[in-house]
């Protein structure tokens, strides 16, 4: 066997084990009995130790070197596999074991501290450990290496090739137009959807499955279950699962189904050819999010989509929705309303939440902002950008779990997702100028097939920026998102 064949064999094994890890996680979130948490943690530790050893073995290193010597000759898939395995190998080997151990200890401490600080809504309790987390992340950046500034290394961890400069450019064009739109929305405030009587939970679950069927989710190759927080996971090439949650007074589960369903369509659309390899997953967080946002927002909150689908929703909940015309429903699910909490934000304000986190992280890692000053800066930016007064640290600087995980450079991928979604949708609309008719006819298969052909089937074969250029003809460009919002909310 040559080096590449050996790498493929190794990739298959690691892929199997990662799928098993995903099952352990899925079961923990969906079904596991309450007292089994410690057993499960031990199982995670044992299995992830085995995976880590396989990832960093000197054999893998040698095989990679050998394969890279011949990589020009290989197919796109072979080149992709070597690229992705190299990336994973480097990320796993550049950090000294001692550093990884210390980091794990610190983040486990940090998580508990953050939970307590958030409960008491007191940032000062979290401040010392956050300081350590920032120092640790800076050290991590040094180990991983970067071309421009340390924050680049952290961005690249979450989105291959992403730099601070790119994110700066992305937001430069967006900041003012978004703020202007928020101000306009505040002047023309509309109420959010309120329905009586409450929706029956069993009927919500049934309809959530209908939503997935509508967009083409394959239930022979996946499931939808209930969990505290919706997520999508891959337990194998033919086993991509989503979860959802249900509240009696809300239609949020419909958009969760569309969001997680978008992630799952991406995973279900990956070519069989690259099953059981490192390539058998969406290429990056940003591109993945572009697909969840495309189905959730661009398609799933559009009027023509609901002109087709609304009668089915009304049939499922006649008491609540038969009195409500489709136009009112669509207006209600598109209300813009500045608020404090990112995860509850609408399409317009969402990216401002991300922008605030990005600016803060960037300045923290440049050293121009001190951890101690975070709450003040946070509250100021919320006032400046969203026009809201932060009432507490819990609803402010302490709201997100990410930092307590030692995770910095993650948030921008959310905005990349929103922007790439609009850019990809614009490319689709050039291909299908009659897209409104397509949506109104409910023929979503046409859209899914185009996305599968251009994006899904490739899995991680091409780096995210290369893929985006192949699909849209250019690199990330925020003008499409701006135009999409302006068109929608004018």
């Amino acid at each position: 066997m040559d080096a590449l064949s050996k790498l493929k064999k190794r990739s298959a094994e690691i892929n199997d084990l990662n799928s098993i890890m995903a099952l352990l996680q899925w079961d923990q979130e969906v079904l596991m009995p309450s007292r089994a948490a410690e057993n499960r943690a031990e199982q995670f530790a044992t299995l992830s130790g085995i995976i880590h050893k396989k990832e960093v073995s000197t054999t893998t290193g040698k095989l990679l070197q050998e394969a890279e010597g011949h990589s020009d000759e290989g197919s796109a898939i072979d080149q992709g596999l070597v690229r992705v395995m190299r990336r994973s190998y480097d990320q796993n080997t550049k950090l000294p074991e001692e550093f990884v151990r210390e980091s794990a200890k610190l983040t486990s401490q940090a998580l508990q501290t953050w939970v307590a600080a958030r409960q008491q809504s007191d940032f000062s309790l979290f401040e010392p450990v956050l300081q350590k987390l920032v120092t640790m992340a800076l050290q991590k950046a040094e180990y991983l290496g970067y071309a421009g500034e340390p924050y680049d290394a952290l961005l690249d961890l979450h989105e291959e090739g992403l730099t601070t400069a790119t994110v700066d450019t992305m937001f430069a064009d967006l900041r003012q137009p978004l703020i202007a739109m928020v101000n306009r929305a505040r002047e023309h405030h509309r109420p959010r959807l309120v329905v009586t009587p409450p929706f029956a939970l069993a009927a919500q679950k049934d309809f959530a499955d209908q939503v997935l069927l509508k967009i083409g989710f394959d239930f022979e190759r996946g499931r939808q279950d209930k969990s505290a927080h919706p997520f999508t996971t891959s337990l194998g090439h033919h086993d991509r699962r989503v979860t959802n949650r249900y509240k009696p007074e809300s239609v949020e589960y419909i958009f969760s189904a569309l969001h997680e369903g978008g992630h799952a369509l991406y995973e279900q659309g990956i070519a069989e050819e690259i099953a059981r390899t490192h390539l058998d997953t969406g290429v990056s967080l940003g591109i993945h999010e572009s697909q969840s946002r495309l189905w959730e927002n661009i398609i799933g909150r559009s009027k023509p989509f609901w002109e087709n689908f609304y009668p089915e929703l009304q049939k499922a909940f006649p008491e609540q929705l038969e009195p409500m015309p489709v136009a009112d429903f669509v207006a209600a699910i598109n209300v813009v309303q500045p608020g404090l909490i990112r995860v509850e934000a609408d399409e317009v304000t969402y990216n401002l939440h991300v922008l605030i986190r990005f600016e803060i992280e960037r300045d923290l890692f440049r050293g121009s902002l001190k951890v101690h000053d975070l709450p003040g800066i946070w509250n100021q930016k919320y006032k400046d950008y969203l026009g809201v007064d932060v009432d507490s640290d819990a609803n402010g600087v302490l709201q997100d779990i990410h930092w307590s995980h030692g995770s910095f450079g993650y948030f921008p991928t959310y905005s990349i997702g929103n922007l790439a979604a609009a850019q990809i949708w614009a490319a689709y609309c050039r291909h299908d100028p009659d897209f409104t008719t397509t949506l109104r006819s409910g023929n979503l298969q046409k859209i899914r097939q185009w996305l599968t052909e251009r994006i899904y089937r490739h899995g991680s074969v091409y780096p995210p920026d290369v893929l985006l250029k192949k699909v849209t003809g250019e690199g990330l460009n925020s003008s499409y998102f701006k135009a999409y919002l302006q068109d929608k909310y004018r």
Copy 2:
């Protein structure tokens, strides 16, 4: 670290990985999307390869040797761990790799052939591959070694220390009395339970949970779900799950809940002290089955148990059961009726089904019976022992899947379970002469605690025959089972 501590660490890892295997299996039976079967098979193969390597590594062998040198000094737990790990090591290392590979190939073929032969109800289709399976099992016995005859090695695989001679003795006392009871039952035939209208499935599921609660199953440390065939599995010390199935016209699920619940009480009762080791499971198939049968039959089909519990069942299904007095219900769930199918058999006839299989296997491996003659012998024995005419190979010699797995020597553990259950119950009744009052009061905790103290908490610390002696004061003795049946059906 000394050898024993190192063995414990290894045992913990293997235990974690086996629990993960159990989750893969559980998910496959309960939830997995249909098209994921091939992915799951790959995951099984990868993970079981890793477990196998850990089990057979030369390090494990050396550590075992070293620990065995000092094993007289250790606690009962330490001695038990070395004994069980040695057994697993030997079973895994005595078979040459080439033989294991060939066996796997043959059984995978055999399974398909058995399915086809059973569908066409034609033993001759299965005969050639069954001949090969028998040859393979004989070869296996030679690799594993035995004191008496080759079949001993196969029995020992399923029940530590079990020999052909022991099983012969066990059945010698039972054969005639059982046949006599069957004949009497045929003369006093009563109909099986028939209810109208059918039971609602959702209400059955709820009541199945009530049954588990009644006997003390801990839902914080386990679950009950639906699957095609009921089973019990361990996904960790605090995660023991059972499954059940539901049919609108049947109360069978109640006895499945009691049966699997009995297995699960055993597993849930194991001491925390031996969590995450090779000892953290019931010691043998026979002892395990003794607990499922004790709860299912001896307790769960007894009149005093239902005098306490029947009102709750009636409350759950008033339309069907309010008109039926408890005595009629108890009579209906204890009907004795000779039939062709083992898995549908009652307490009296069940062991005759096992006896037939035992005699056939024993004679096959002694060479005094040819594979070709199996259907004739099978049908003759069913006529002689159970008085029934076998109408087809599908309902006769082809009914069980076990042989197609290459599994011989398994069936006797079912009867050991029945006999040990009666023997253990007799010991309990000496401890609690007022046991009828205990059952009638619904205070099953008293029984469960006694069993936990004597049996459950020890897991696999003591070999099955040693454990049975500790609990009952003697080795396996069929007179208790005989007396139990005679008392019940006189």
